[in-house]
C-alpha cells in the first residue's frame, strides 16, 4: 500500500534532511543546536529499531516508553541553554522527575504493552510550555534582528508545531488502536507534522551560516 511507502520509507528518510544540513554546518552550530542535532540522530536510530522490530513482527511499543525519557531530556537541555540561569535547576529537577514518572508508568501503570499516552501527553504539554516561554523571552529580548535570521527561532517553531499538533494523537493513541479499523491514517497525519518539523530544523541549521 502507498501509505506504507510514506510511513516506512519517506518519513524515516526525512530524518536525513536536517542531519545532512546539520552535518555540513556542524562547525558553525552553537551548543543548543548541537543538542537538537544529536536528538534527531537519536530519533532516527530509535525509529529504525522500531521499524526493524515491526518488520520482524515483534512487539515494539515499549520503545516509545524509553524514547520518551530521552526525548524530553534532549529538548529540556536545549531550552536549558536558552533560558536564564534561574531556570536551570528547575529544568534539571523536571528531567529527573519526569524520567522517574516514565519508569513508574512503564513498570506499573501502562506496563509497556500499550502506548505511553499519560507520559507522552504530559511531555507534550511541558514542551509546549517551553516553546511559549521562549517566544515570550524573544519578544522582549530580540527586537533588533529579523525573526528568520535567528536559527533558534526555526527550531522552536518546529518543536511547537509538532508537539501541539500531535497532542490529540498522543492522548488518544491507545483508544484509536483498540477501537478503529484503520488507525494508520492518524499516523500519516502525525508523520506529516514530523516531516514539517524536520524541514524547519533543517532551515534552522542552515541559518547558522549567517
Amino acid at each position: 500500500m502507498s501509505y506504507r511507502l510514506y510511513t516506512d520509507y519517506i518519513i524515516p528518510a526525512s530524518t536525513f534532511l536536517p542531519l545532512i544540513v546539520g552535518f555540513l554546518n556542524y562547525k558553525r552550530l552553537i551548543w543548543p543546536l548541537k543538542i537538537i542535532f544529536y536528538f534527531i540522530l537519536f530519533s532516527g536510530i530509535a525509529n529504525l529499531i522500531n521499524l526493524i522490530l515491526i518488520y520482524h513482527h515483534r512487539h515494539s511499543i515499549f520503545i516509545f516508553h524509553i524514547y520518551t525519557i530521552f526525548e524530553f531530556a534532549f529538548i529540556s537541555l536545549f531550552y536549558l541553554n536558552l533560558f536564564k540561569k534561574s531556570w536551570h535547576k528547575p529544568i534539571l529537577i523536571l528531567i529527573g522527575a519526569f524520567s522517574l514518572l516514565c519508569m513508574v508508568n512503564f513498570i506499573f501503570i501502562q506496563k509497556g504493552l500499550e502506548f505511553n499516552t499519560y507520559t507522552r501527553s504530559l511531555e507534550a504539554v511541558m514542551i509546549i510550555g517551553y516553546c511559549v516561554a521562549y517566544l515570550n523571552q524573544q519578544s522582549i529580548a530580540d527586537t533588533e534582528h529579523n525573526w528568520g535570521s535567528n536559527s533558534l527561532n526555526w527550531i522552536n517553531a518546529g518543536i511547537l508545531v509538532y508537539y501541539s499538533s500531535g497532542l490529540f494523537m498522543f492522548i488518544a493513541s491507545n483508544y484509536l488502536m483498540k477501537h478503529l479499523a484503520f488507525p494508520v491514517y492518524i499516523f500519516l497525519l502525525l508523520d506529516t507534522f514530523l516531516l514539517f518539523e524536520y524541514v524547519l530544523f533543517a532551515i534552522g541549521f542552515y541559518k547558522c551560516r549567517k
Binding site: 519578544s139 530580540d142 511547537l160 490529540f168 484503520f182
Partner: protein, 264 residues
C-alpha cells in the same frame, strides 16, 4: 443512556488539523508583529540619524555664517578704524628735527601696520573671500601660498578635476576647504612634516577624490584619537555625504582620501 455515535477518528483528525492551523497562524502572526516592530525601530533610527544630520548641518551653516560676519566686521570696522588711526598719526609732524616724538610716531605706525596685517589675516582665515568668489581650488591655493611662504611646510597642489570643482556648490566647497585647512593645521602642529600634497582627481563626471598626504612621523592607526579636529572633519564630511579613509602608520606619514559624489 444514548450511545455516542461520534466518529472518534474524524474528531481526532479535526483536532490535530485544527491545532496545527492554529499554531502555524499564531507563529506567522508573531513573526509579522516582530518584523513590524523591527521595521518601526529601523525607521525610527533612520529618522533619528537624519535629524542629527540636519542639526549638524544647521550648526555648521550657522558657524560659517558667524565666521563670515565676524570676518567682514573685522575687515570693515576694525580694519577701517586702524587705517584711519594710521593716517591720523601720519599727520603728526615733529616740531624740531631731533624731536624724540618722531621715534614714538614711527613705533606707533609699525605697531598699527602689524595690527592691520593681523586683522586682515584673521578676517581672511575666518572667511576667505576667494572661496566665495573663485572657488575651492583658488582658496586652497591662496592658503597654501601663505603656508609655503612661512617655510614651515611645503605644500604641493595638483588639480585634475577643475571641470568638476568649478561647478561645485558653495556649502560643499566650504566644507572641503575647512577639512583641508584642518589637515594642514594638524600636519604643522603634530606631524613634523616637511612636505605635503593635495591632489584633486575626477572619477568621470560623477565624483571627485581628494587625496591629502604628508611625509610626517605618522601615527599608529589604533591611536588615532577622535579629537576635536578629526571629529570636526568627520562632521563636515558627513553633512556633505562624503566618505573618507585614513592610511597612516608610525614613521610612514599620513594619508587621507576623501570621496565625494556630486549631486547633479
Amino acid at each position: 443512556m444514548q450511545e455516542v455515535t461520534d466518529n472518534v477518528f474524524v474528531l481526532v483528525v479535526l483536532g490535530m488539523a485544527g491545532t496545527f492551523l492554529m499554531v502555524v497562524s499564531f507563529i506567522l502572526i508573531y513573526i509579522r508583529n516582530q518584523n513590524k516592530i523591527l521595521t518601526q525601530r529601523q525607521q525610527f533610527q533612520r529618522a533619528e540619524i537624519a535629524h542629527q544630520k540636519d542639526l549638524l548641518q544647521a550648526i555648521i551653516e550657522s558657524q560659517e555664517a558667524e565666521r563670515k560676519r565676524i570676518g567682514q566686521d573685522l575687515h570693515d570696522d576694525v580694519g577701517t578704524a586702524l587705517s584711519s588711526l594710521r593716517l591720523t598719526i601720519e599727520m603728526l609732524k615733529p616740531q624740531q628735527i631731533q624731536d624724540n616724538n618722531d621715534k614714538h610716531v614711527k613705533l606707533s605706525k609699525d605697531i598699527i601696520d602689524k595690527v592691520i596685517k593681523d586683522v586682515r589675516n584673521i578676517s581672511h582665515n575666518l572667511s576667505p573671500p576667494a572661496l566665495s568668489y573663485y572657488g575651492l581650488v583658488a582658496a586652497i591655493e591662496e592658503h597654501c601660498l601663505v603656508i609655503n611662504q612661512t617655510g614651515s611646510l611645503e605644500i604641493n597642489l595638483y588639480n585634475e578635476a577643475q571641470h568638476l570643482l568649478q561647478d561645485m556648490a558653495l556649502p560643499v566647497s566650504v566644507a572641503l576647504y575647512r577639512v583641508l585647512e584642518e589637515l594642514i593645521n594638524n600636519t604643522i602642529k603634530h606631524a613634523y612634516a616637511t612636505k605635503s600634497t593635495i591632489k584633486f582627481t575626477a572619477i568621470g563626471e560623477e565624483a571627485i577624490i581628494i587625496e591629502y598626504t604628508d611625509n610626517g612621523k605618522g601615527i599608529s592607526s589604533s591611536l588615532i584619537n577622535k579629537g576635536m579636529g578629526l571629529q570636526n572633519i568627520e562632521s563636515r564630511l558627513t553633512v556633505i555625504n562624503a566618505a573618507y579613509k585614513i592610511d597612516t602608520a608610525e614613521g610612514s606619514g599620513f594619508k587621507m582620501t576623501i570621496t565625494h559624489t556630486l549631486n547633479k
